[in-house]
Every structure is written in structure tokens, then in C-alpha cells.
Symmetry: C2
Subunit: 344 residues, 2 copies
């Protein structure tokens, strides 16, 4: 079976995905008899291109990474992302537009359109999960297609599929975790004596924190991930606004020194607990001691602990080494895994 | 669909499984339209019973836990495990006889017989995995049945299914882990100043270590788990003898004190690495520092780190609190999960 792919959003993660697909193309063919071509690409600031007969993906990568537009590759004149989706004749749409925490747009509309046109929709974008999970899941089911979002929480490391595939009929009681790499790097550096401002600058220098670090340091990135997990795994719609996060700006070097003297650490802890039908969720700095699975997660490492009625504390950790970036390749793998699971 | 179940082995784990199945029976019915009855039970020292119309499981639990034989429950005279399998008319056979590290028997024969009679075979027994994986997998496939063994490595916490379901087309480069709870408890206690002999006694008192702790402290339990993981996930047959483990008897209080002073810990580390087609595996005490995902695994906690070509260090930890036993309920859940995945 041949799959035509549309890439909506062509930043680091989407370009890593394109390279990963190329690297794994022989395995896809030999293991699952799947081949693919790229028939639509929408970029943020380097134009749009479609060609149902296949675009030259290497040329597209080179153009964008050289700062040039890809519109010369297009067989038809297309001026926006929806036009790319509509004209790509794709079987699978990868949605990687920038996250909008408040509304989930424009990703929501892209995914609706993809399902309307009988495509699978796969995204690393948390917005449509928290703002449209039930609607999009129902839409996907009605079309016999897959809504994939494995890359939204732990940077492409499997989380949703682990709980959904490997914990049949288990009841999820609570989740606890560290979901934001930037704040974990900052807290690690502060523990080593660096000032908050310097730690933020370092996180920016390695490409982890954005120029305006608000989304990370005030807890919004963590909150939307908690909301996504609660929405999907606890079957309870939740928005980041309802999580109402507290960030790390209030943590002083004095507090960190005191914690350290007591053998403890501040972590930006994400939690959700289900009691009956009621879910309470939070994101806030917490003191954790060495008995916590979160204590050992340093630098840009992230992780989650599931507590269920059958297996008590089951933790997944994605360990990153100092100086390593969260990794577009890892996030790309989550998209790739969703693709394989959709087509195998 | 109604499933008849045979329980070959009726120790703590199998009895926990029976109770878990009863607790989850409404969910099985509502989610997967699955019902079940117990039609065969083989115990180690409390007799054998079959009844294709269904045995009274509560009565069987009461009898065994009261030290009595279950043979009065049987509709036919049966005298051994194979006779139970043959006369149970079961659709699913749960194999929980004692582990034989050297040969995998008699579990191997039980599982062969189950497949011959068109049953699914599900086991918490590591023996048949390391001594018969390829044969039994081929046999299961030829019959359209499942060979399930999720409970063999991390006490029922999902490991095999995580890698097989959630890491499609990923290449497994290495595994590292702590697979034996008893030695981890002993090392934790020795770090707190207890003598080796006292630590062993404590592990025995909480039901974790056996009267003869050789299998744990000399690394054989860890080695058979490494061998099982290598055999299945690295597609390379390996026996515990080939792993050739080194246990923890050589670790002195002096060594532990020195490690502690350097911020390190001794752990009984299980490793396997695949380079090309060659796998090297080991079990031995290793010094780990606080950057290792294994450093924080204390008491009877166990865990594994997968390194792949796409996601670097992905760790699964099953955290146990001090004094908690490894948990027959958790091991039972691994068997239950295999059952649900076989019949859903």
C-alpha cells in the first residue's frame, strides 16, 4: 500500500520526521509492505507546495534550511495550509503547526479537514487534544481513521500507547510527573548555584526555551500536557486553564539551598488524580525527596508515574544528558510510531 | 464469548489471578463481551481437579488456603498436570509451575500440550521463554493462539508489550536494569548499615527471598530474566548459563561504605547489548552514580532502561515501598493482561 503524506508545519520536528521516514523506508516496506511519498508541505514562513505525484522532499528540506521558499516545487498554486490539505490527495496528514494553548487553532481545523477528506491525522500539537479530543476521536472513528498524538507529552517517547495497549482494563488512579524540560533544566542549574536569569539564558542557548520563556516557566506547557493526559486517559475533558498552573518564578536560591540541605529538590510537579468521577489536577513546584521517582529526573529529563488499581507505581522516564536538547528526532519518532500503527 | 480456564500451578500468583479475574469479570463482560469459568486446577501439593462445566473457584481457594486437597471438587479422577490440561476442555491455560532455570521443564511440556489442544498459553514462568521461545512462538502461530509471558521479568508490570506495541520499527541497541528485587532489598539494607546475613533474613521474613537464597543472591534469577529479554526482544536465543552471572556475595560492607562516600551505590546490574548480530549480556554488581536511572531504584523496586536508535534512554520503573513484597497481585496482572490481549 502506498501512502501520500501531507506535512502541515515544516519546522524542526516535521523535518526530522521526513528524514526518519526516509531512513526507515526499507523497514516499512519489508515489515509492513508500506511505501510513501510526500504530496503536500505547508511551512510557517517558507511557502506552500503540493504535488499529488510526489514532491522532491530532499529539495524541500534544502530550500527551507537554506532560508528559501518551497513554492517553486508546487504543481498548483496554493496559498495556505488548508489549500495544501485539500490539494495534496494525501492519505495521512501530519499536523505540526505552532501550539495555541487557548483555542487549539488552527490545528483543530486542519485535523477536521483531514478527516473530512478521509485522511489519518497525526499531530505533535497539544492544542487539538485538549480542545477537541472527543469530537476528533468520534470523527476519526466515523471515518475509520486514526487520530494520533503520541508526541504531545513526553517528547515522542511512548506514553499514551503504553497505557492504552499495555494496561488493559486497569483503572488509572493518578498520574504524577515532570513534563516540562525547560523548567527542569533551570531548576537543575539553580541547584548547582546558577542564578535564575542565567539558567533561563542557558536553556535558550541550547534551543530548549523560547525567547519569551513565559509558556514554560509559568507552567502553561506543563498544564496543557496534564490536560491532554487527563482528557485522554481519564476520559475527562480538561483545559490548561482549569489546571491553573503555578510556575517556578517564585523559587528562590535560598529555598533551593534549604531544600538541598534537607536532601530534597524542587521540581515542577504535574499531578492529576481521579476519585469517583471527579478529577483534580495541578502543576506547581513541589519539594520531592529521594524516595520519589521524580527525584532523579535531572536536566532535561522528563517522566511520568502511573498509579493504577493493579500495578501501583509504574514510571516512565525519558533521560536526557546535560546539554542535550529535548530532541526533534525523538518527537518525530512519536509521529512516526503513530503512522506505523495507523497503517500496519 | 465464553472462555474455559485451566490453572496449572495454584500458588500465590495463580490464586491472585483467580481473584483478579473475579474482581474484573464485569469489566471483561462490558468491555469485551468475555465471560469465563475455571475448568481445571493443578496444585503442587493439594491435588488436582477438573470439571468442564466449571469448578467452584471460591471453594478451591478456601480448600488450598486451608491446607486441604481440591480433588473432591473434580468430576473426573485426574492425577497430574497433563491430565488436568487434557481433561479441562480449556480455551486458555495459565502455566505457573515452579521455574526450572536449567531445562524449563515441566512448563515446556505443559505449554506444548496446551497449544496441541488449541488453547492460548500464558505463563509467569521464565523457563519456557528461555528454553522454548522460538518453538513455542511458532507453535502458537500455527494454531492461531497466543503465547503470553508478560509477567516473567518485571513482576507483572508491562515490559514486553511496551517494546513490541509502542516502539514500532525501533531498533533495540541495549537494555540495562535491575531485575531482582531480593538483591536490591539486601543492597539497600547493607547501605543502611545492616550485615549481609541480617539483610537476607529480612528479605526472607517478608516472603521475598526463599529459604535457600542462592537463586537470587548468585544472580540466577536476574540472569534468566536477561536471557528472556534477549531471546524475545533481540531475537537471539540465550540461556542463563550463557549470561553466566556474578552475584552479590562478594560485596562487603567496606565496599558499600566507600561507594557511599563517593556518592555511588552498588546495584546488581543486568545488561545486554546488540552490536550487529552479536549480543553480549551480563549480570554483575556495578557501581552506579546519581546520573543513572538505576541509582534511584531502592528496596524491592526494579526497572529497565531501553536504548534504541530513535528514543535514547527510555526507562520503566516499578517502584515498591519499603517492606512491600514484590506482589503476587502485580504478577497476576501481567497474566491477566496477556489474557485480555489474547481474547479481546
Amino acid at each position: 500500500m502506498h501512502y501520500k503524506l501531507a506535512l502541515i508545519g515544516f519546522g524542526n520536528v516535521a523535518r526530522s520526521l521526513a528524514r526518519l521516514l526516509i531512513r526507515k523506508q526499507d523497514l516499512l516496506k519489508s515489515q509492513h509492505d508500506v511505501t510513501f511519498s510526500f504530496t503536500g508541505i505547508a511551512t510557517g514562513s517558507h511557502g506552500f507546495a503540493v504535488n499529488p505525484d510526489g514532491l522532491d522532499i530532499q529539495k524541500a528540506l534544502d530550500l527551507v534550511e537554506g532560508g528559501q521558499s518551497i513554492s517553486s516545487l508546487s504543481s498548483t498554486d496554493v496559498k495556505d495550509s488548508l489549500a495544501v490539505i485539500n490539494n495534496s490527495q494525501a492519505n495521512v496528514m501530519f499536523e505540526n503547526s505552532p501550539v495555541n494553548t487557548q483555542t487549539g487553532q488552527p490545528a483543530l481545523d486542519h485535523i477536521r479537514q483531514a478527516f473530512d477528506l478521509n485522511m489519518h491525522a497525526i499531530t505533535a500539537n497539544k492544542g487539538p487534544v485538549v480542545h477537541g479530543y472527543r469530537e476528533l476521536t468520534a470523527l476519526a472513528r466515523s471515518k475509520g481513521k486514526r487520530f494520533g498524538f503520541e508526541s504531545t507529552v513526553l517528547g515522542g517517547a511512548p506514553v499514551f500507547s503504553v497505557f492504552r495497549e499495555a494496561f488493559p482494563l486497569a483503572e488509572l488512579i493518578s498520574i504524577n510527573g515532570i513534563f516540562n524540560a525547560t523548567t527542569n533544566v533551570i531548576l537543575t542549574l539553580m541547584e548547582n548555584g546558577e542564578a535564575y536569569e542565567d539558567a533561563v539564558k542557558y536553556a535558550q542557548s541550547i534551543g530548549l526555551a523560547e525567547t519569551d520563556p513565559t509558556n514554560d516557566v509559568d507552567g502553561w506547557d506543563a498544564a496543557i500536557k496534564v490536560a491532554a493526559l487527563v482528557t485522554v486517559l481519564m476520559d475527562t475533558p480538561m483545559t490548561p486553564q482549569q489546571v491553573n498552573p503555578t510556575g517556578i518564578r517564585g523559587i528562590t536560591p535560598q529555598m533551593i539551598a534549604k531544600a538541598r540541605a534537607e536532601g530534597k529538590r524542587y521540581k515542577l510537579v504535574c499531578s492529576a488524580e481521579k476519585v469517583g468521577d471527579k478529577v483534580t489536577a495541578s502543576v506547581s513546584p513541589q519539594l520531592v525527596d529521594s524516595t520519589s521517582p521524580l527525584y532523579g529526573m535531572m536536566n532535561s529529563s522528563t517522566g511520568i508515574t502511573f498509579r493504577t488499581d493493579v500495578i501501583l507505581d509504574y514510571s516512565i522516564t525519558l533521560s536526557e544528558k546535560p546539554g542535550m536538547k529535548g530532541g526533534p528526532v525523538e518527537t518525530a519518532y512519536g509521529l512516526f510510531a503513530d503512522f506505523v500503527n495507523a497503517v500496519k
